[in-house]
């Protein structure tokens, strides 16, 4: 149970962070040019005087500043993110409706990129200086410089328009009404392109990190000892080097979670994937600030959950961490 205590500490810190983001959101609404009530109403509701008056009263916009701040944050604490006049529904409902799709997409991309990144990084470090290492390193360098959304568009062009292998947009085939396993397979087919293009950049990051970390650990004394004991190369790499080299990669993966969640906005936009990123994109054109800020807060919460998860993985991989922290 000793594992749980630091997690509780992190949860408390996470809640404080979310509160701070709520405060930040409040200041952003006031930083926007124009009347905050009009900002909250979004473009769609701007014409309706009565609604603006209602909003002003509901958010206490005629009250002193600190009272406004208090009531705004209190609403967020109660999970009331306001109402999207554009979509005609509470923001929370819109987000909850779209959240599963984003979770599937980001988790799949995270797992794919971390697994492939570590495998390729280990492979490159085992062949350091050879042609296959240079090839892998160059590919990583290329993926690292490729804009996410462009990789996604090019993947649609090649695999869905030219070759016709995979569907290029959406979450499932519209109107097919698959059930059971057929539906799962249909979703998986739709998931392959978005998840792999979202994961491409991160795979490159993890691969470079794994390779560098493997090479660094392989210089250490205990590796020389293992070699002197007469252990074979692959055994040393797997049991001795990889176990130590993987820690900084996991740390980095946790830090990168935020970028992954942010990148989902781009991927979901290209593939018309019905997640919260796509919701954010749709709200941008409509200047639907309530929804934009709601998605922002929820994606920050997602990042925190990702961080706590990687922290747990970290403790499982290396039991020494718990004692030190």
């Amino acid at each position: 149970m000793a594992v749980l205590v630091p997690v509780l500490g992190r949860l408390a810190k996470a809640l404080l962070t979310l509160l701070a983001i709520a405060v930040l959101n409040f200041f952003l609404i006031h930083a926007a040019p124009g009347d905050p009530a009009v900002v909250l109403a979004g473009e769609a509701g701007a014409a309706d005087e009565q609604m603006i008056a209602q909003l002003r009263e509901r958010f206490g916009l005629d009250q002193p500043f600190h009272v406004q701040l208090g009531s705004y944050v209190w609403n967020i604490v109660q999970l009331d993110f306001g109402y999207s006049f554009r979509q005609g529904a509470p923001v929370l409902d819109l987000i909850l409706d779209r959240l599963p799709a984003t979770l599937i997409l980001t988790l799949t991309a995270f797992v794919i990129s971390l697994t492939l990144g570590i495998i390729l990084g280990v492979a490159a470090s085992a062949r350091v200086g050879k042609a296959s290492d240079s090839l892998l390193t160059t590919l990583a360098l290329l993926f690292y410089a490729t804009p996410l959304y462009w990789a996604a568009l090019m993947a649609v062009l090649v695999f869905s328009v030219e070759l016709g292998w995979l569907p290029g947009f959406g979450y499932e085939t519209v109107g097919a009404n698959y059930t059971g396993l057929a539906r799962v397979w249909d979703v998986i087919k739709h998931l392959i392109l978005p998840a792999s293009t979202l994961g491409l950049f991160f795979m490159a990051v993890y691969m470079r990190m794994t390779r560098a970390s493997m090479l660094e650990v392989s210089q250490m004394d205990f590796v020389k000892t293992a070699r002197a004991k007469g252990l074979s190369g692959p055994v040393i790499r797997r049991r001795h080097i990889l176990r130590n080299a993987i820690l900084p990669v996991v740390t980095l993966a946790g830090l990168q979670a935020g970028q992954l969640v942010g990148g989902a906005v781009l991927t979901e936009t290209v593939f018309a994937w019905p997640g919260i990123g796509r919701l954010m994109f749709e709200s941008l054109a409509a200047r639907d600030y309530n929804t934009i800020l709601g998605v922002f807060l929820v994606s920050a919460a997602m990042v925190i959950v990702f961080n706590i998860l990687t922290d747990l993985v970290y403790r499982l991989v290396d039991p020494r961490i718990g004692a030190r922290a």
Partner: protein, 277 residues
């Protein structure tokens, strides 16, 4: 040091590419005096089919090559200025936290950690959307999401340097704390900051292009991301409209990353390539 940099083949290629992009950006008005918005030919002109329009035209008959060359300006400008602004926030904060320690360190690091937890692209979107998209707001938003790693790096470097003997010597000589920080400590942290800055310009260019792809670009400035975003819906019939700007971004960002790695190897030869990931 320069010789070490020049012996790195990748870094030299990076510099050559970057010089080419800078050259094109500077001469954009001479090469394409009509500007990137002028409709010069029929729409959807396929590349390599008509002299004078090697990269074809877009949905409104605008020259894709002109767009690319003018777009280079926005990418380089935003990349460079936002990095400078991010350094202006991150360096003092990290330096004060690392040098003075105590509650200043505690406060500065909590603040930095908070900004690192926020998904940075999502924050950039929110900032630009709320402040209205202009070159200034885009640059500012990118700077606001990019400074935390700078602060952490500078803090760590300052903490490593401040216990060196020459700093003790300066203290004995009676120099004030602020003077020691600015004249003795900070100059010795410059090389890792330079390496990080070159990589930050690359990231900033990617961020800017991603924002304009989503329609959050400055409506008065042609940019690579905008070109791809505008062509997204016609990708099935006009591949070249998204293809060429993407290649431009990729090549520029790649060049900057190569330069960053070359600088890292040249300035910190004793370090492994840990920091490049």
């Amino acid at each position: 040091m320069i010789r070490r940099f020049a012996s790195n083949k990748g870094a030299v290629i990076g510099v050559l590419i970057l010089l080419l992009v800078i050259g094109l950006a500077l001469t954009a008005d001479l090469l394409f005096p009509r500007g990137p918005w002028a409709m010069v030919q029929r729409p959807f002109l396929v590349p390599f089919t008509m002299d004078g329009f090697p990269l074809g035209t877009d949905t409104l008959g605008r020259d894709v090559a002109a767009g690319l060359v003018h777009g280079a300006r926005v990418s380089l400008l935003v990349g460079l200025v936002s990095t400078v602004v991010a350094l202006a926030i991150g360096v003092p904060l990290g330096a004060i936290a690392g040098f003075y320690g105590g509650w200043a360190d505690e406060g500065a690091m909590r603040f930095t950690e908070f900004f690192q937890t926020i998904p940075n692209f999502a924050l950039a979107i929110v900032l630009v959307a709320i402040l209205e998209p202009t070159l200034t707001s885009i640059t500012l938003a990118i700077a606001i999401v990019s400074w935390p790693p700078v602060a952490r790096l500078v803090r760590a470097e300052v903490m490593a340097v401040k216990s060196r003997e020459y700093v003790d010597a300066a203290r004995l000589a009676g120099l004030s704390k602020a003077r020691i920080l600015t004249t003795e400590v900070l100059p010795n942290t410059v090389s890792p900051i330079i390496v990080m800055a070159s990589l930050m310009v690359a990231t900033a260019i990617l961020l800017e292009s991603s924002l304009s792809f989503l329609g959050l670009g400055d409506p008065n400035a042609m940019s690579w991301g905008y070109m791809i975003g505008a062509a997204r819906t016609v990708i099935r019939s006009a591949w070249w409209l998204s293809f060429f700007p993407g290649v431009a971004i990729l090549v520029t960002v790649l060049a900057l990353n190569l330069i960053g790695e070359g600088l890292n190897d040249a300035l910190n030869p004793h370090l492994s390539r840990k920091g490049t990931a």
